[in-house]
Symmetry: C2
Subunit: 348 residues, 2 copies
DNA sequence: CTGAAAGCGCTTACAG
DNA sequence: CTGAAAGCGCTTACAG
């Protein structure tokens, strides 16, 4: 029982010797392969349990050419709540399949180094595959680096080149359309939109949904109703201040994400407007901030963790498949309108 | 140049053959070991560059017993902005040293599975060492699991057993004391405190700093001035509503973190109070939410990314050292009071 | 300054 | 149903 004490030192050879079988048979048992006698299997398994045997992952990786490591790729890891949600979902799927999760960051275009450092890191990160989160999923340099490294990948919510890889998505455009119509149906006619950053496809899709809804109702939104935003709360604040300075104020503001909607709430407070009485504000994503805001934010629930979970699942499922890249697949997850307290019919 | 095209297929043997040296010499060059002739080194290095040779990490791990993987351990990955900041700092340190970052989650005590699943995952996550973030850094079961796995570890902001491992910290108590005195010096006397969850040592240290400051000034805070909180915005909201219902309202609220302070701001708005005119609110951490709140939040800057960076550095530096656990070290990082707009002298 | 040998702990490919 | 052999691509320990 010395092996026990030296922790992790037990090898397949020890088990084989004790069980009186070859290492190949032990290998079969731990990998749950077929074709092992019932009695043999039980004897080996008992030894494995008793000696707390754990396969050495590096050895397994070396001979099988698999690392059992999945990479999640982010830009701006520190900035968004999104990152944590993605990791929660990705870890769920990893754990189920015996994989582990690694994290890599692509420096944003404005930073020095940029994609260069990422490409180098990717080579010795030894991932079996990676999941690309927005906006890296639409970045040509990132895609080129991942493909050059020969890594299978699944994209989360890509905006372009849908044939280029499997991906997971939800219908942002349709959700934004419904979100807009909800305001319309309350009686709002001057509905403004706070846009997201140019490199985030979701912002564009949500803007399109907004435009589509308005046009469906016969209204061409004025250019000044669409304010620039950066998906950060402060940008929502500034955008709202600008919107409130218009001669004909909007009666409702649709922010392309919750963070900006929270900023909009703050700007309303600063300007002495009571939400939703004087101004309706709605968001998108349904982050914890939406629930915690005052008034609580009417928004759209995006199943972020579930999307990441599905992406990792697709990735792992595809590992058996030679033609992974060719076998184009997509998984669509549903959204849900969340009705809270920040939107109401316009007064007067 | 066939090897080039098959990407990553170039091995140390290929380089050795081309260079006319042994694989051991190639190994020396790629690991920058001493004792290689200048000309030999140059010749080998040129080949490495030309053939885009990258060492196979699994092979290296198997023979050297190092994975070049660092694990960051979290509880509630999805909940806090903190998680992203830690990862940013940890990745900085990893990248400098040629390491990569993996993420593991400990299910909170309330979840099924709990530490059990974590301990198992840890065994085949093959980390060379881990960084424990609050509150995992004070969880006896987590510490036991990490030590049982034989992993070196560094804790971030632990609350107990400082001799048990190296750690990184900042002086929460002192910072909270200063934060409280800042309110005192503005003229506030009824200063309330919103506490954090019981398993977060930082909440306790901040509460102690608050109490210390008040007692220094000869005031024993009434029990009802200390409200329960969970570090989440909604709990700050609820705590503030309760505080505002007291017969003798506090004139200032110190929330143990920014998220709760933002919730406090929302509760003030709901109750028709203008901050800071009718109520001062201050936070702790200096997250992006603090800058984005309205009014912008007066808070304390905690160098989260830097603390994580330092922790990973200490971990990697210690790998050479046999007596890592024995060589107790700690690194202290500084905080910074951040003056914004949510605190002012009490009116009247 | 350089190298030959052994070995890390598994899986693959094949044989029976 | 089971096993012997080879090999994955490096580093370690040793020799000269």
């Amino acid at each position: 029982m010395q092996q026990d004490e030296r922790g992790g030192k037990v090898t397949i050879v020890d088990i084989a010797r004790e069980a009186g079988v070859s290492i190949k048979t032990v290998s079969r048992v731990i990998n749950r392969e077929e074709g092992v006698g019932e009695e043999t299997r039980a004897r080996v398994q008992a030894l494995v349990d008793r000696l707390c045997y754990r396969p050495n992952v590096s050895a397994r990786s070396l001979s099988s050419r698999r690392s059992y490591l999945i990479g999640a790729i982010f830009m701006r890891v520190g900035a968004y709540h999104y990152v944590g949600e993605v990791q929660v979902g990705a870890m769920r799927a990893c754990r189920r399949a015996g994989y582990h999760l690694g994290v890599e960051q692509v420096r944003p275009p404005e930073a020095v180094g940029g994609v260069q450092g990422f490409a180098e890191g990717l080579r010795d990160a030894r991932f079996d595959g990676v999941v690309l989160t927005p906006p890296t999923c639409d970045d040509p340099e990132v895609l080129a680096a991942v493909e050059a490294a020969g890594l299978p990948y699944v994209r989360i919510a890509p905006h372009r080149e849908f044939e280029r890889s499997p991906y997971v998505f939800m219908d942002d455009r349709r959700a934004a359309r419904e979100q807009t119509l909800r305001l319309w149906n309350m009686g709002h006619r001057r509905i403004a939109f706070i846009d997201g950053p140019a490199d985030h496809g979701s912002a564009e899709r949500r803007r399109q949904g907004y435009l589509e809804a308005m046009r469906d109702r016969g209204v061409e939104p004025r250019p000044e109703w669409i304010a620039k935003g950066e998906f950060l709360s402060l940008s929502g604040f500034n955008a709202t201040e600008a919107l409130l300075r218009l001669k004909e104020r909007p009666t409702a503001i649709f922010a392309a994400n919750d963070e900006m909607a929270v900023g909009a709430l703050a700007a309303a407070a600063k300007n002495g407007l009571s939400v939703p009485r004087d101004l309706s504000v709605v968001g998108f994503d349904d982050t914890p901030a939406a629930e915690a805001a005052w008034p609580r934010l009417t928004t759209v629930h995006q199943p972020t963790a579930e999307m990441a979970e599905a992406a990792v699942e697709m990735l792992i499922d595809g590992f058996g498949d030679e033609r992974f890249r060719a076998r184009v697949t997509a998984r669509k997850l549903g959204y849900r309108l969340v009705q809270r307290d920040s939107a109401a019919p316009p007064s007067a």
